[in-house]
Symmetry: C2
Subunit: 560 residues, 2 copies
């Protein structure tokens, strides 16, 4: 191979004219420069143009700088999907601080933990969450930890309880900022833009650090993987605190779209906002879509344009995909984790799928798919050999990602970071198979696999069967200890409102009918031995908390 | 500002899992992995799927490596818009060599110059260009310079004259390559992917070196600025040798589109291919669009779907924009230069423009616009102060770009590189104004301004007036030396076929009528004093070669 000097590396260096750090902040400038008057945010009666969003973000950044906030500092927010939350996605990084989005459903002790671990110097919090925040701050104070300066958001659209906790309200705070402050670009595109704690089911949460480069690329990647048009009207059913709303606050700047804010997920409100603002796009976990599917048809009347929905989640049930098709909503299935900025794999559709039988379409579209154009790899590897598993739809391995849309690592946790990145891939902890077309299909979280008589049972497969029963609104299957088989599947089921059993006898009959139904769809050893009706515990993003169900089963076994 | 250690820079480094060099080569893998069977290339009766394009590109890369081609080497191509040209955009960089696309209309001496200056080791050339290539190689040999190894492309779709010049034909060459060679990603995204010589009007051409990072970003930028859907059918009216076809060979991989090849620009052929393959998109210089506008209506019959056209060029005449609207084609106006990878500014449309009077729409859409989402800046600066000119539509300055879609620099020409990047901006040499909305409108090349009695006259403004006359097919205005005024405008006009004057008297009357027509639209001092009818000299990309007209005027003045 050539050993002569490379002429293409002589006198051709980076300079201010030909290289700038990639950052989604430049997308805000694009939208505000080119579409300054266009509506960027709708919240109740409030309308903000892209020029206003930029001005407010600049004021926020400037006011933070005046508080001595900058490089290496953390600004936490505990906010619903409101204008201040959208602005924080620009204003906080424009001050060179890192945006720490706190899950608004966390308990006070966990909020105290993440505020302390992240060393957050400022907390911008909506009054609705004051009860939790107040206790968290008291805990920090009692422990002699740093207590962040609180900026209260007193949203005119919120009239519920909750006191102000800090010395200044958000609008007053940003009014004191300088509208002509242009904001600071990152020094390096590898610098952090965001910090998002994962809701680990065991142990302390881990702080996922994401960088400007990845945020920029995934913001564009959403446009590519969803074929997002210019000027979409986007309804915020997905919490912005969740993986920075899958990067959509930044994506919407790249297409000069409109954000329709939403403080809480409610079917009547969602359909009403869709109708009023002619919403074209929304995202969410399967539970959001199921909610819409189950809503009375009257709520949906008048929505006669194509609404596009993006759904993610470890395993959206097949019945949900089918339900959306029936609803006339066009669903794109994506997959990801906080560590990969939300969705960075997508189940890209093929034209010839549309002519297949519906059940087959559902199976094809229900897969996690493969990498987007901005990610480098998403596949299933044998974690021992790091070789791709055979494309047989059978051999399980661990789903792994690599590429530019992968976190920097976990904050102050080099051990977890190294483990996550072992052998040059990000290990998701999700188990899956590869189909012949290279698409990934999740089978389970490693810890959710049920091993019965030495055979692996995918809890997702059993849940898919349960969802096909008309009475089932939501289902979760976990392992129940069994003296003979080691483990057997046990189902927890949330019933639809119109299928509640009248009495204990009807309940027993329904449970039996559901088990019989599973036998039609599954090998007998995979069928649940017991079906229990209950409201399923869910995280704020709609993920069913299986560890709580598992704990319930374990304690019952211990007693029993 | 904080002086404590930045926790977001501790133990959070780049590694193989979270950082890969940006390169459009990963887009080929995306298309070939996810849509392997989908049609990527149509050429006559030939169909190539994305899997085949990847396989052929890999073979090409592997065969080049076997010739000891690699890092820092240059592979030249002199090819029309055919499958080997599309493959070269992937296969050459996959060998780590730099793709040098030669303008197929260049004369032998210039071809010899660029082959020598770039130190091209291999030349892949279509048989059609053998007469020129043969002479160029003879010149190199005579000068004792390196003569590249020639690989002939003997395209079955070409039955014209031209001998084979090298020892091996392209198909045999790539058949000898290894289809399982995965290709090499660049070591660094700042590494060169392409070399494109600008057709300078004076002096030797300069070699513009473009990098993987910019090629990747502009490939995605085309999708964003044109709202390109998944799976477009793209007709290759724009030469791929011109700024790498504005990055579209790579863009089409990012959306798994289909390339319809085209060896030469011909209205009947273009409409026939559009009809046969249901072409959805094409790009070109104004002359291509004018050709289609002027074509007999019968040629266009049956094309009843919306065709989207992208037009670039220093100044597409307003009449062309109007003509396209009449044709029913949706035109997006973009702007750029070889140094910024083709288009990296766009005239983004606003919804409210559509309700304005047509003439106003034409004016609005006829501007160069502003930066795309992947570029950082495009504006008009006073080159002395480097301050933005007032947004008054009047004050002229130099159009400048900066950002990630700007070349590395000029090969082996540090002086020109430094001049081009002075003060942190890429200086285009184009003169323009800023409109109140921040959109750039080109006024002229610096050297094309006519100074008459101390007043600047924009040759573009005069040409715009000329184009509004029904007899005018193409027009170019240059300065004519004048004893009294210094300079006055002189017009060269190419007439439409159906407006050719019958005799000298009719010609003189038409010239006078055109001058009168200009007086309706322009201040009197801006009107041409003379109109000469002639076929205008054009570059291969359709740019009118004003320097030839200027030379004609000068020599006439010298004689007269």
């Amino acid at each position: 191979m050539p050993t002569h000097p490379n002429p293409y590396r002589q006198d051709l260096d980076r300079n201010a004219a030909n290289h700038v750090p990639l950052t989604p902040l430049s997308l805000l400038d694009w939208a505000a420069d080119i579409f300054p008057e266009r509506c960027a945010v709708i919240h109740g009666a409030l309308r903000l143009s892209w020029a206003q969003v930029r001005e407010r973000s600049r004021r926020l950044a400037s006011a933070l700088r005046a508080m001595d906030i900058g490089e290496g500092d953390t600004v936490a927010v505990m906010l619903p999907n409101t204008p201040p939350m959208a602005e924080a996605h620009f204003g906080v990084p424009m001050s060179r601080a890192v945006l720490h989005c706190i899950n608004t459903r966390l308990d006070a002790a966990t909020v105290a933990f993440v505020l302390d671990h992240s060393d957050s110097k400022v907390l911008i919090a909506d009054r609705e969450f004051s009860p939790t925040v107040k206790v968290a701050l008291e805990q920090l104070r009692a422990q002699g930890k740093r207590v962040p300066a609180v900026i209260d958001v007193d949203d005119p659209e919120y009239d519920g309880p909750g006191e102000r906790l800090g010395p200044i309200e958000y609008e007053t705070f940003i009014a004191g900022g300088n509208a002509s402050f242009a904001g600071l670009a990152p020094e390096d595109e590898w610098d952090a833009i965001g910090l998002n704690y994962t809701s680990g089911t065991t142990g302390n949460p881990k702080g996922v650090v994401v960088h400007h480069r990845g945020a920029y690329l995934n913001a564009l990647g959403n446009v590519l993987s969803w074929n997002l048009p210019r000027h979409p009207v986007y309804l915020w059913t997905l919490p912005m605190f969740h993986c920075n709303g899958w990067c959509f606050p930044w994506t919407l700047a790249a297409v000069a779209g409109t954000s329709v804010c939403l403080r809480k997920v409610d079917a009547a409100l969602i359909f009403s906002l869709m109708r009023e603002h002619r919403v074209s796009h929304y995202c969410g976990a399967p539970i959001v879509h199921s909610l819409l599917i189950s809503a009375p048809a009257a709520l949906r009347s008048g929505i006669d344009w194509p609404v596009k929905a993006m759904v993610a989640g470890a395993a959206p049930p097949a019945a949900m995909i089918e339900g959306m098709a029936t609803l006339g909503f066009d669903v794109t299935h994506v997959y990801g984790l906080t560590e990969v900025y939300g969705p960075s794999a997508a189940c890209a559709k093929h034209d010839d799928w549309a002519v297949r039988p519906l059940a087959e379409q559902v199976d094809l579209n229900g897969r996690q798919g493969t990498r987007t154009q901005v990610q480098e790899g998403c596949t299933v590897l044998d974690p021992q050999t790091m070789q791709e598993v055979p494309r047989d739809g059978q051999t399980m391995g661990e789903v792994m990602f690599r590429g530019n849309v992968v976190m920097k690592g976990y904050l102050k946790n080099p051990k977890a970071t190294q483990e996550a990145f072992a052998d040059g891939w990000f290990h998701t902890g999700d188990l899956g198979v590869l189909h012949p077309d290279g698409y990934v299909k999740l089978k389970d979280r490693a810890k959710d696999i049920i091993i019965s008589g030495g055979e692996n049972i995918s809890s997702i497969e059993v849940e898919d069967a349960l969802y096909k029963h008309p009475a089932v609104m939501a289902a979760a299957v976990v392992a129940r200890p069994d003296d003979k088989w080691g483990e057997t599947p046990m189902a927890f089921v949330e019933l639809r409102a119109d299928h509640q059993p009248a009495d204990a006898a009807a309940e027993a009959a329904l449970a039996q009918a559901i088990i019989e139904h599973c036998r039609v769809h599954l090998a007998r050893f995979k069928c649940p031995r017991e079906v229990r009706f209950t409201e399923l515990p869910k995280t704020s993003t709609g993920k069913i908390q299986k560890h709580l169900l598992r704990a319930q089963v374990k304690s019952a076994s211990a007693i029993g």
